[in-house]
């Protein structure tokens, strides 16, 4: 499958008049295949937004190469961006103009007719307030307006930086459904977010970035599977210390997890056999269910 986005050795350092230079991206490399939803996860200041700005030509990388939809950035941007819809960080519009005016003006740049702009507002659920000045919009409505602008080009690639920012739960669900629908139509969606549960529910693949570097990138299932699987074991309370000592003695990493013991480094049958031979029969033994959030916190700690 072809790659929608290829990033190789990306570096970005912000130099300021005062203070030390800030390294925002430190050698990030990433390949994003065409189709599906790709999640870019990372804590604040990890370089997600700067990476997206580099992809869209808003920020000039200090070093590295970027290719979007087969064309180099920034040289091929004029052609590339005709097929890219984007929401960059906070959705920014001129406050005195109405939502409809802003979308129509943006559409006019690419020669998109007013009717398509109105359809995009309708699709995003903003048609009723489209005639109001943007300054009267809530943060969530501004996000919707930005999304309307992003889908207006009928893009092959959507780049969404924190698209659920400021949305209520219903709005977040709408965005999730919209993103999934767009991906099901064969588009590629790159989505950065700090809402891990949303990413887990929405994305097919994910990359976790921290301090400007990519820590891991794979399908959500593979990332979770490869993340030091743990087992949870329940034994009677009085045997808990002894069980921990026994399992620790054969190389497992054991820590308390509420009423249970979390055991890493051993398979379930090894745990059962070790405890059984010592007469400590576990009443519960199951693999721990990992969520992206746990892994995210673990990797970025």
């Amino acid at each position: 499958m072809a790659n929608a986005i290829v990033i190789e050795g990306l570096h970005k350092t912000y130099r300021r008049l005062r203070g030390r230079p800030t390294v925002a991206i430190d050698g990030l490399s990433l390949e994003i295949e065409e189709g599906g939803v790709f999640g870019l996860l990372g804590p604040n200041g990890s370089g997600k937004t700067t990476t997206i700005r580099c992809l869209l030509g808003l920020v000039r990388p200090s070093a590295g190469r970027i290719s979007v939809l087969g064309r180099p950035v920034p040289d091929g941007l004029a052609e590339t961006l005709r097929s890219v819809g984007a929401v960059v960080e906070s959705a920014a519009f001129l406050p005195a103009m109405t939502g409809r005016e802003q979308i129509r003006l943006l559409a006019a740049i690419d020669g998109i007719p007013d009717r398509a702009a109105d359809d995009a507002l309708e699709a995003i659920g903003l048609a009723e307030r489209a005639g109001d000045a943007v300054r009267t919009y809530s943060l969530g409505m501004r996000q919707r307006l930005a999304l309307a602008a992003a889908i207006l080009k009928d893009p092959a690639l959507l780049v969404l930086d924190e698209p659920a920012n400021g949305l209520d739960p219903a709005g977040m669900r709408d965005i999730r459904l919209l993103v999934r629908r767009l991906a099901s139509e064969g588009r590629t969606v790159l989505l950065s977010s700090h809402l891990l549960s949303e990413v887990e529910q929405t994305c097919d693949r994910v990359a976790i970035v921290s301090r400007g570097r990519c820590l891991t990138a794979a399908t959500v299932a593979d990332v979770l599977a490869g993340a030091h699987p743990a087992s949870l074991v329940r034994v009677v309370e009085t045997d808990r210390d002894r069980a921990a000592t026994l399992l620790g003695g054969i190389g497992a990493l054991v820590e308390p997890a509420g009423d249970l013991l979390r055991v890493r480094g051993l398979q379930g049958q090894e745990i059962a056999a070790t405890l059984g031979q010592a007469g400590l029969w576990p009443s519960e033994l199951r693999p721990e269910e990992r969520h992206l959030e746990d892994l995210f916190l673990e990797l970025t700690a």
Partner: protein, 269 residues
């Protein structure tokens, strides 16, 4: 052409622009009211005797001198132009909408060139309309209290040309301010920089090095507006040459702004 039209529309839909226009309209109403109330026959006679100008006397609308009605208006148009030009471009950076627009039109040279051309065109039109409103507003004072003596065809042409020159200089000042705002990415910084240059630095430079005076904005803009050959011997420059010089300054600053915009990171200033 489409991008130019879009940029004109974006510029003219800015609140700051319409706030400035509203202030100008209020000022015009006040001037017209004062001109009407203050134009009793005896008062006008004493003004003429002293050789002073009054808006109720038609030929005083444009005499090419300091107390001409249009020259007074020009000062306020230039001030408004500095603020408006800086606000239109600086506001795009402040609101963050610059990044949004760049995801639609990444050809930065084309975008900024269209934006500067739009700002120049819009400020020319707005300045012309405001001057027309000013003249219309004081017309009742002329027709009911004052007189039109001496206002022949030659005067009408000189009046029209003066309006167009003032509009052109307003467009230039507005564009210069917009260029500075594009580089500084900040409205207030641009207004202060333009004011500091024209209001303070050029004055200091003239005192320290008098030979630089013919090259300053504050010497050449009035020369173009009045189209006066007075002082030509001292400066060695005709009004036409001053126009070319000012156009050159505008072009240089536009090129600097475009080159800066090509490389700058599109994050708010």
């Amino acid at each position: 052409m489409s991008l130019l039209r879009i940029e004109i529309e974006r510029s003219l839909r800015r609140r700051a622009v319409w706030a400035l226009v509203a202030i100008a309209v209020v000022g015009i109403v006040i001037i017209a009211t004062i001109a009407f109330v203050d134009s009793t026959p005896s008062h006008l006679a004493s003004i003429v005797q002293r050789g002073d100008a009054h808006p109720a006397i038609l030929i005083d609308w444009w005499r090419g001198e300091d107390d001409s009605l249009l020259l007074v208006g020009a000062v306020f148009l230039f001030l408004g132009g500095v603020i408006g030009g800086a606000a239109v471009v600086g506001g795009e950076w402040r609101s963050g909408s610059m990044a949004t627009v760049l995801t639609w039109e990444p050809r930065r040279v084309r975008l900024l060139a269209a934006r500067l051309a739009a700002i120049a065109w819009a400020s020319f039109v707005v300045a012309t309309v405001l001057q027309g409103l000013l003249l219309l507003a004081v017309l009742p004072a002329v027709l009911l209290h004052g007189w039109t003596t001496g206002a022949d065809r030659a005067f009408a042409i000189s009046l029209l040309l003066a309006v167009l020159r003032i509009s052109a200089m307003t467009a230039l000042v507005t564009s210069l301010s917009a260029c500075v705002a594009s580089v500084s990415k900040n409205t207030a910084a641009a207004i202060i920089a333009v004011w500091a240059w024209a209001g303070v630095l050029e004055g200091i430079l003239r005192n320290v090095k008098p030979g630089i005076s013919p090259w300053t904005l504050t010497a050449n803009v009035p020369k173009v507006v009045t189209w006066s050959h007075l002082g030509e011997a001292a400066s060695g420059r005709s009004p036409a040459a001053a126009s070319v010089l000012l156009a050159g300054y505008g072009a240089i600053l536009a090129v600097v702004a475009v080159l800066h915009f090509r490389r700058v990171d599109a994050i708010s200033g």
